[in-house]
């Protein structure tokens, strides 16, 4: 059943993949190589002299307690964001896959948040959750909860998780909806005749048949939460209070851009890259076996 285009020469296929290769080379491999090179260098504060120091940057890094703290923060943050954005995206997609009046309108509105830039999303939620003037924050305070993400680390974490999840749900929703619509209706009808109630139908038929979509989204979401949440954290909390929301990628940004420790920051981004590559490889190796295509 394979339906492939066969090219006779070598020139045309090479030309066709050239643009993609060029983009990967310029925007990924080059910066990655630069980061790797820089992670072996130390520069003085004025950028006047540069010294090649081998693994000194890495050794220094692995001796800083804040770095381990950032790893912990990242794990908590990414687990929460991935879990809620996938879970809610799937829930909404399952709801929107039914025949109800005005479903097109709901679907459109559910996709809109993805068009909002992460920093803008952050600002929206900061307003709503600002202890002094946000309407949600005031409702919480009236309910007796001393809500204050500026001072309370847990609250700050909740704030960035909410923003990151809200920003990512639409993407997951869209893919889950497409995945659900690709499941033949007759298979679900057959399960209904076979006596499976809606919840059982979902877990024994629909969810396994969605597994390729879920697997793809897990990879994409992990990449998202490791890298693309920088803007959200920067706008919402700036990594604070006292490092409570300082994820690995945010620490790379702070140490390199704000602290101008280019070597240390480069070492961090190399480690971060290795972690993400390892995670993805692990998933392809072990989780993909459970996926039914």
């Amino acid at each position: 059943m394979e339906n492939r285009a066969i090219f006779s020469g070598k020139l045309l296929p090479c030309l066709l993949i050239l643009p993609q290769l060029a983009i990967s080379l310029i925007f990924f491999y080059w910066p990655a190589a630069q980061a790797l090179w820089q992670s072996f260098l130390v520069q003085d504060a004025f950028g006047l002299s540069t010294e090649f120091v081998w693994f000194e940057n890495y050794v220094n890094l692995l001796q800083t307690p804040e770095y381990y703290h950032a790893i912990g923060v990242t794990l908590v943050f990414s687990a929460l964001v991935a879990f809620f954005s996938l879970g809610l995206g799937l829930l909404l997609a399952a709801m929107a896959n039914r025949n109800i009046r005005g479903i097109q309108i709901y679907r459109t509105f559910l996709i809109v948040p993805y068009a909002v830039a992460p920093a803008v999303a952050s600002v929206l939620f900061i307003f709503m959750l600002q202890p002094g003037l946000g309407m949600i924050a005031r409702a919480l305070q009236r309910a007796g909860i001393d809500w204050n993400p500026v001072l309370n680390g847990t609250h700050a974490m909740i704030l960035v998780v909410i923003v990151a999840v809200w920003n990512q749900i639409s993407y997951n929703f869209l893919f889950f909806l497409a995945g659900l619509q690709a499941i033949p209706k007759s298979v679900i009808e057959a399960a209904a005749i076979d006596g499976a109630r809606p919840m059982r139908r979902f877990w024994t038929i629909i969810f396994p048949l969605l597994s390729p979509t879920t697997f793809f989204l897990i990879i994409v979401n992990i990449t998202y939460v490791f890298f693309n949440t920088l803007g959200i954290i920067d706008t919402a909390t700036g990594g604070g209070p006292s490092g409570a929301t300082q994820t690995l990628v945010y620490k790379v940004f702070q140490d390199g851009k704000v602290g101008t420790d280019l070597g240390g920051s480069a070492a961090q981004s190399v480690i971060l890259m290795v972690i993400v590559v390892a995670l993805t490889a692990f998933q392809f190796r072990y989780v993909e076996k459970k996926v039914h295509y």
């Binding site: 057959a190 005749i193 109630r197």
Partner: protein, 361 residues
């Protein structure tokens, strides 16, 4: 085991379109009922209403003495075989068949017995650990059947189960389904657009058109005495020749027994004989336009030499003025040759001018 009775069943879609216009029929315990009709006639919709996959807007459906209008598909004690089989692609053949039993919390040893019994009947024993993707079309079809029979339901519903198979396999599976149904004695309703499948499978044949029943009965009775011109042209291949006639013409041809006004005369291709002798029946003078030899028999397509007026064409009907003659063997006249085809009087069918009513013989 149960009988199925439909009383004035109707289906109106939200837009106001009346898809099923009041249908009544009964399928006795253990009988095999076939719903046949052209695409869009509502036969699949009707089957899905019996299954509980479509709502019933009026009338009632009775399965085994229980009105099931408001009952969920799972509670109706029916099993359905879908056109695309609708197997669970992520489960093995065994799990596909066991799924419905597990949902009903049957004990695993009992499930194993039933699945293995079904696998033995359907010759699927060697494939129980495979997944549907590793099976051929015919094997998938048998798994779909197996999934239905392990449940031992009151009623089997078949929604064009053979239409995705190639011609040879279709004939083999048709015979299998009939044998299986006779053996299990489970009441069955079967939807098809293939009149040959309908004729060979049915105890009761329901011919549908435009959301209505055209005729219900034993397949041979329907073949021999079609109630409308639609049924006459839909059942039988090649279709019955239908020709509009004037009263005097008919009188002269038939010997004057049937005194009727203008109508439509029907004669089956196999009832016509190429002969120059005068008979007591009807005779057509034809110019041969085309010849189809299928081996054991030959179809002659001829046009009537006298100008024939056109009539409203139903699907599958011959063009106005064209007459098909079916003769045994492969010896046929040449194209362009003039022949006379005659049919005895007792083989003629006469319908009212609108084709909605049979008026004789």
């Amino acid at each position: 085991m149960a009988s199925v009775t439909l009383r004035n069943v109707q289906k109106t879609y939200p837009g106001g379109f009346l898809a099923i216009k009041g249908i009544d029929f009964a399928v006795g315990d253990g009988q095999f009922c076939v719903l046949v009709g052209p695409s869009g006639c509502g036969k699949s919709t009707l089957l899905r209403m019996v299954a509980g996959l479509e709502t019933i807007t009026d009338g009632e459906i009775d399965i085994g003495g229980r009105i099931v209008n408001q009952i969920e598909p799972a509670e109706r004690d029916i099993a359905m075989v879908f056109q695309n089989y609708a197997l669970y692609p992520h489960m093995t053949v065994y799990d596909n068949m066991a799924y419905g039993l597990r949902n009903r919390r049957m004990a695993e040893p009992e499930i194993k017995t039933r699945v293995e019994e079904a696998a033995r009947i359907l010759e699927l024993g060697a494939m129980l650990t495979r997944k549907p993707g590793q099976l051929s079309g015919g094997q998938r079809q048998r798994v779909a059947m197996g999934r239905a029979i392990v449940r031992q339901p009151k009623v089997f519903l078949f929604d064009e189960p053979l239409s995705n198979l190639d011609a040879k396999l279709r004939i083999a599976m048709r015979v299998e389904i009939r044998k299986l149904q006779r053996r299990l004695k489970t009441t069955s309703i079967y939807v098809t657009h293939d009149q040959l499948e309908a004729m060979t499978l049915a105890d009761i044949l329901v011919v549908m058109n435009g959301g209505q029943v055209e005729q219900i009965g034993n397949p041979l009775d329907i073949y021999q005495k079609p109630a409308t011109t639609f049924v006459a042209s839909f059942i039988g291949a090649p279709p019955m020749n239908l020709l509009p006639i004037k009263p005097d013409e008919f009188k002269s041809q038939s010997g004057g027994d049937l005194a009727v006004e203008a109508g439509i005369l029907g004669v089956r291709p196999e009832d016509l004989v190429v002969s120059s002798e005068a008979t007591s029946g009807i005779a057509f003078d034809l110019t041969v336009e085309a010849i189809e030899r299928v081996g054991a028999e030959t179809y002659i397509y001829g046009t009537r030499q006298r100008g024939a007026q056109s009539i409203a064409a139903n699907p599958g009907e011959t063009p106005p003025g064209e007459v098909i003659v079916r003769i045994p063997g492969a010896v046929a006249p040449d194209i362009g040759e003039k022949i006379r085809a005659v049919a005895p009087r007792e083989k003629l069918h006469l319908f009212s001018a609108d084709g909605r009513q049979r008026i004789g013989p």
